[in-house]
C-alpha cells in the first residue's frame, strides 16, 4: 500500500533533477528544444572556463555570508531584547516576526521603492542630514549594490533566526543565571558563559539553515536588479531565459544542486548528531 505514494514521490521530486542532469549533458537551446540524446561534456567544459559563472558563485558566497551574519546579529539582538519582556510581549514579538510574513516579492518591491535614487525615502532622509551626499545609487553603484541586497534579504529572513533564538533562550533555566550572578558574573559575562554555550547548537543549525536560504535566494536579487547582478541562481535563470541555452542553464542548475546537497548533508549531520546525543542523555 506504500509503493504508489513513494513512486509518485520519485516522479515529482526525482524527475526534474534527472531531466536537469540529462539536459546538462546535451545541447538543448531555444532553436533545438528537444533532448537530442548525444552525450557531451561540452557544457561542463564551458563551465570550467566561464569566469562569469565563477564570479556568480563567489557573489553567491558573499551574499550567503552577509545574510547569515546580518540575520544572526539582528535575530539574536531582537531575541535578547524581547526575552524577558512582560508588557505587550505579543506585540513586540509580532513586530519582529512581521518581516518574515512578507513574501520575498513584496520585500523586494518595498525596498525597491525605498532605494529609489531620486524619490526613495532613504535618499530623502539622507538629504536632510548635513555633509551627506543624498544621491546614493543604491541599486546601480557596483560597490553598494550587494550590501544593499543583503540588507533586504536580512530584513526578510532574520525572523527565522529570531524565532529559533527566542525558543533557545527560553529553554535556558533561570537557575543558571541565578547561579552565575551569585558567582559574581556581570551581565556580559553571563551572556558569554551561560547564554552562548547554551544556544551553541541552535546557533549552528541556524547558520546552516540561513546559508541554505541565502544560497537559494532569487526573488530579491532578481527583482531589485532585473537580473543584472548575477549570483548562481540568477545566472542559471539568465542562461535559460535570456540566452535560451537550456543545457548550459541546467549545468549551472546542477552545480547549484550539488552545493545545496553539501549544505543539506551538513545540516543533517548537525541535527541528527544532536538528536542522538539528546536521546542518549
Amino acid at each position: 500500500m506504500m509503493t504508489p505514494p513513494l513512486m509518485l514521490l520519485a516522479l515529482v521530486v526525482g524527475l526534474p533533477v534527472l531531466e536537469a542532469v540529462m539536459l546538462s549533458f546535451d545541447r538543448v537551446v531555444l532553436t533545438r528544444p528537444k533532448l537530442a540524446g548525444d552525450f557531451t561534456f561540452h557544457n561542463y567544459a564551458r563551465l570550467v572556463g566561464d569566469a562569469d559563472a565563477w564570479m556568480a558563485v563567489l557573489r553567491s558566497c558573499l551574499y550567503m555570508c552577509g545574510t547569515v551574519f546580518g540575520s544572526i546579529v539582528l535575530g539574536l539582538s531582537a531575541a535578547l531584547l524581547t526575552r524577558r519582556i512582560v508588557r505587550f510581549r505579543g506585540l513586540w514579538r509580532s513586530i519582529f516576526i512581521l518581516p518574515w510574513t512578507m513574501p520575498a516579492i513584496v520585500a523586494a518591491m518595498v525596498w525597491g521603492v525605498m532605494y529609489d535614487a531620486n524619490f526613495g525615502i532613504l535618499n530623502q532622509l539622507l538629504r536632510m542630514l548635513p555633509f551627506v551626499d543624498g544621491n546614493v545609487e543604491w541599486l546601480l553603484d557596483k560597490s553598494i549594490i550587494l550590501p544593499a541586497l543583503i540588507v533586504v534579504q536580512v530584513w526578510n529572513e532574520f525572523p527565522v533566526a529570531y524565532i529559533f533564538f527566542l525558543a533557545a533562550l527560553h529553554s535556558i533555566p533561570d537557575e543558571l543565571y541565578e547561579a552565575a550572578s551569585v558567582d559574581g558574573a556581570s551581565p556580559f559575562q553571563q551572556f558569554l558563559f551561560v547564554t552562548l554555550p547554551q544556544i551553541r547548537f541552535v546557533l549552528s543549525v541556524i547558520v546552516v539553515l540561513l546559508l541554505i536560504f541565502g544560497f537559494r535566494a532569487f526573488p530579491v536579487i532578481f527583482l531589485l536588479t532585473g537580473g543584472r547582478t548575477e549570483t548562481l541562481t540568477v545566472a542559471t535563470f539568465n542562461a535559460a531565459f535570456r540566452s535560451y541555452d537550456f543545457s548550459y542553464a541546467a549545468t549551472l542548475g546542477v552545480l547549484a544542486i550539488c552545493v545545496s546537497m553539501v549544505l543539506v548533508l551538513i545540516y543533517l549531520q548537525l541535527t541528527l548528531r544532536n538528536g542522538k546525543a539528546e536521546a542518549a542523555s
Binding site: 518595498v110 521603492v113 525558543a167 543565571y177 527583482l223 535559460a240 546537497m261 543539506v264
Partner: protein
Amino acid sequence: MSAGPAMRRSAAARTLHMVALTGLAIVVAFPVYWMIVLAMTPLGFSRQITSILPSDLTFDNFASLVVERPMLRWLWNSTLVATLSSGISMLIGLSCGYALSRLRFRGSYVVLVLVLASQMVPSTSILVPLYTLFMDLGLLNTIHGVVIGHISLVLPLAIWMSKGFFDSLPEELEGAARLDGCSRLGALWFVAIPLVSPGLAAIFVYGFVTSWNDFLFPRHFVQSENLWTAAAGLTSFRGEYFTLFEPQMAASIVFAFPVVVLFFFLQRRMVSGSLTGGVK
C-alpha cells in the same frame, strides 16, 4: 544584555533596554509602515513627501488595481493554484510521510535525505528542467502546469513535515487500534489522521503560502496575462511602472495580506514547533 532575574536592574539599564528595543522595532517595522503610507498616498505624491507621517489618505490606488489591471482575476488564479497545489501536496505528503515514518525499509534514510535535499535546492535549478519537460508535454501556458510546478516545490517539505508528525505519534496507538479491530488503513484513518490533523493544516498553509508567493513558475511558464497568478502580476508592475510607487505598494499590500493573516494565525504553532521540525 541578559540580566538575570535574580538581579534588580537599575533604572538606567531599563531605559537603555527600552530605547534599544524601540529603536530596533522601528527600523524593522518601518518598511511595512512605509508600504502602507505610500499605498494610501495619491498617485505621484510620494515624490514630494515632506514628512514620514501620512497626509491626504486615499484608497484610489487600490481601486485602480481592479480597474486598470486584472488584479481580481490574478488573485482568483492565485487562490486556485495555491489551493490545488497545497491540497494535492498535502495528500501525497501525508501518505509518503506515513510510509517513511512507519515502514523501515532499506534505503529509507537515503530517501529522507533526498527529500530534504530537494527541498533545499534553488527553485531556479528545478525551473529549467521543468520548463523543457513542460515544453515537450504541452503544459506551458496552462494553469495545471503551474500547479504541477508548485507541487514539486512544496511536496518535499510536506513529506518531511508529515513524517515528523507521524514520528511524534506513539506507535502503540496504532497498535492498540489494530488490536481493537482496525486494519492498518483503519488505524491510520480513525487514530493517526485525527491526531495529526493540526499538522496537516500546517502543511496546507505552508504549501498555500509557498505557492501564493512564487512568481517564477507562473511568470515563466505562462505567457497570457489572463492566466497569471497575483505574484506574477505583481512583479510585472515593477518592470512597467518603475516609478509609480503608489500602485506598486497598494498591490503589494493586497498580495501580502492573506499571507500575513495566515502566518499570524499559525504563529503559536511555529514558535513552539520551530526547534523540532522547523524549516521555512
